[in-house]
Symmetry: C2
Subunit: 414 residues, 2 copies
């Protein structure tokens, strides 16, 4: 019998208990061993739960229990999760986590510690919830050179954008709805400012290219500035706006990595990833584009990914898994100002004629887009491939020439 | 150093050599060991290849070579692949195969033999080409009860249907184009009659539900009867026609499994899987719907999946993998006549009025569909949920009443 402990009894933690209880027999069949939860660490009391007797507030009861070989960390955040996980790995216990913040901040260190002590540190649930993505990238695509990963990694923002696109709902209204439905936190910054997606693309980039990428080194832009007008122009262009986390290996050995809203062609597999779903595209040199789609969050999808990792730990108890990457290195993340994109730009001037003249002044030949009820003075267009720094200068120039810059969104080629 | 042999130097076999050669260093890094091909078995001569000296026509040079621990079987077909694979597993050699015909026909026996001898028998490349699907189903979804799998499993028929849908190309013309492009064989029966898709859904069903399903027990219908009129009516209904392999666990413990063209709603993730791409939906009780998308065939995607399995063998040399299922059992596959579907039906009678009366006689309330240039006497409609046997009787009745039945296609709910 494999005995485990669960740190945290929030949404995911209670889901882990639910999955282990409801799938008890099939899990035992697959793990070839019974898996039981011996302890749950939580500062709160849950006197009415049938398993109320296994709760503790004392981490030492877990770390000092030689029967507990696997610890599930689903508390979230860095403190105290990091200290607990480190203590586990230093005391002979494998760790399974769903904590993307922890993996993005401390992944290289914790993986290395696990390897040193011949233990597992698994985190399938940290990206894509119930979608298998960590293992397929590390294992099934082992015979590929992955060149690029791009994904819709945050369900909350995708829900909001879907409401804006499909129901013409204003950003603020869609955010409120997401909060009412429990998809968004009271403080939605981590989602709508792109930080959650940033942690996830950092984990995927670290895994795919073997070098840790810290979130604070990644250009991150959220969706708070997206308007319904932008959504309409995206439709006129032939696509939709999605919040994309992307990373690409460049010829110079640096990675281009960012989180930002992007215009996505209607033909793209990512264009049809709607509501709270996630979709992740992995571009390999041999496989071509492979896309993984499913619920990227939620109690049971995330919990099932955690429990699958636990089963994997039970089956490969002593084996080091081949999830590995080195710590971050200098000058590895390309400066976004050196990258180039095609851009969608929306500006307003005193007259449409003037706006078009200004657009020509800064961008030369452009492709104009139109929308219903487009007011006099407003134009929107798509640029040719333009360097980011040049783009920023052009925006300044437009402003100095008296135009309002109402929207700037990068295009994508997937 | 891990030395392997490759049986067959066709499209996939030469791809395996290409992947191993071009990714030599990264494979060594991932496998933590160099992987070299020591022997290639093929009856043909390849005197101009740089590795011409490792070819042999003599299987005994492989089976009797103690240095060769892993054998890659990419010959296709049952004979002699089955004898060779069996001999390998009986003589201490793990086997990696891309041969869906072999796995569908002999999977249970070969898996069992591999387990008995503590060897690996891996076949990720047999379904979905470069898309990771076997391992995610068996491993990442271990903490789910999978209830249903449905997929576009054959790239050739999907290419043909895409041409019919997008370019209004006739079936025969699209098939000819597929042949000219090398997507379809001179004898296209295995693809267009659904046999290839059938083998793949059998493998997925065996894996997901733990009991072998033989292709000859599965109702299989190809796409040869699909017309451009059907495609137009599908669009009017709000979707597209796709060849779907599907399996569902029923409440009575039997599985409903079939390969057939289906109406797929435009909202479905499978509706946007076009050209030679595959898409596979796995419905789990905890994860919800997870969809895997990518190139389902082709030299390098398939070869990269084979090589990933080889790397896995090298890393888990003695470990039995947890791909396992039991042999087939009686009364496990539900009789399709006991299943029920909604159907699209297209009929022609002497007048539209008569056709509508006949439709009402056999199906009661129906939902009619219309198309451009719809001739007098032709109607198309969607039925309510109807038992398959009742449906067959109704078709007979329609014919006896003088109507021509021009098209019958089942709807889907994914």
């Amino acid at each position: 019998m494999a005995k485990i402990a669960v740190l945290g009894h929030g949404v995911v933690g209670s889901g882990v208990l639910e999955v282990i209880n409801t799938h008890h027999d099939s899990i035992e069949r697959r793990a070839k061993e019974e898996i039981t939860v011996k302890r749950i660490l939580d500062l709160r009391e849950f006197p009415n739960l049938p398993y109320a007797d296994i709760f503790t507030k004392d981490f030492s009861l877990i770390i000092n229990d030689p029967e507990i070989a696997i610890v599930v960390e689903v508390m979230g955040g860095i403190t105290p999760a990091y200290d607990y996980v480190k203590a586990c790995l230093e005391n002979g216990k494998s760790v399974v986590t769903s904590n993307k913040e922890l993996v993005a901040a401390k992944g290289a260190e914790l993986i290395s510690l696990a390897q040193k002590n011949n233990l597992n540190f698994l985190f399938e649930a940290s990206v894509g919830g119930g979608i298998p993505i960590i293992r397929p990238i590390s294992q099934c695509l082992a015979a590929n050179e992955v060149g690029e990963i791009a994904g819709i990694l945050n369900g909350t923002t995708n829900f909001i954008l879907t409401k804006m696109i499909r129901e013409n709902m204003d950003f603020a209204v869609a955010l409120k709805l997401a909060q009412d439905l429990g998809y968004a936190e009271r403080n939605p910054a981590a989602d709508v400012e792109g930080h959650d997606a940033c942690r996830k693309i950092c984990i995927l980039a670290s895994l795919a290219f073997g070098t840790h990428v810290y979130p604070d080194s990644v250009y991150t832009e959220g969706i708070t500035k997206i308007t319904l007008e932008d959504v309409q122009y995206a439709a006129a262009w032939g696509g939709v706006i999605k919040l994309i986390g992307s990373v690409k290996m460049q010829d110079d050995g640096k990675i281009g990595i960012m989180v930002a809203p992007r215009f996505i062609s209607r033909e793209s597999q990512l264009a049809n990833v709607d509501d709270v779903f996630n979709g992740i595209m992995v571009r390999g040199d041999a496989t071509g584009d492979v896309v993984f789609y499913g619920k990227g969050a939620g109690k049971l999808p995330t919990a099932s990914a955690v429990v699958a990792d636990v089963i994997d730990c039970v089956k490969h108890f002593k084996a080091r898994k081949y999830l590995y990457w080195d710590d971050a290195k200098l000058d590895y993340v390309a400066n976004i100002e050196e990258e180039s994109f095609e851009y969608y730009v929306r500006i307003k001037a005193l007259s449409t004629d003037l706006a078009e003249k200004l657009a020509y002044k800064y961008f030369g030949k452009i492709r104009e887009l139109t929308r219903e009820n487009q007011p006099e003075g407003e134009i929107a267009f798509v640029t040719n491939l333009t360097n980011e720094k040049v783009m920023n200068n052009s925006i300044e120039g437009l402003k100095n020439d008296g135009a309002s810059v109402l929207g700037v969104i990068r295009l994508s080629d997937y």
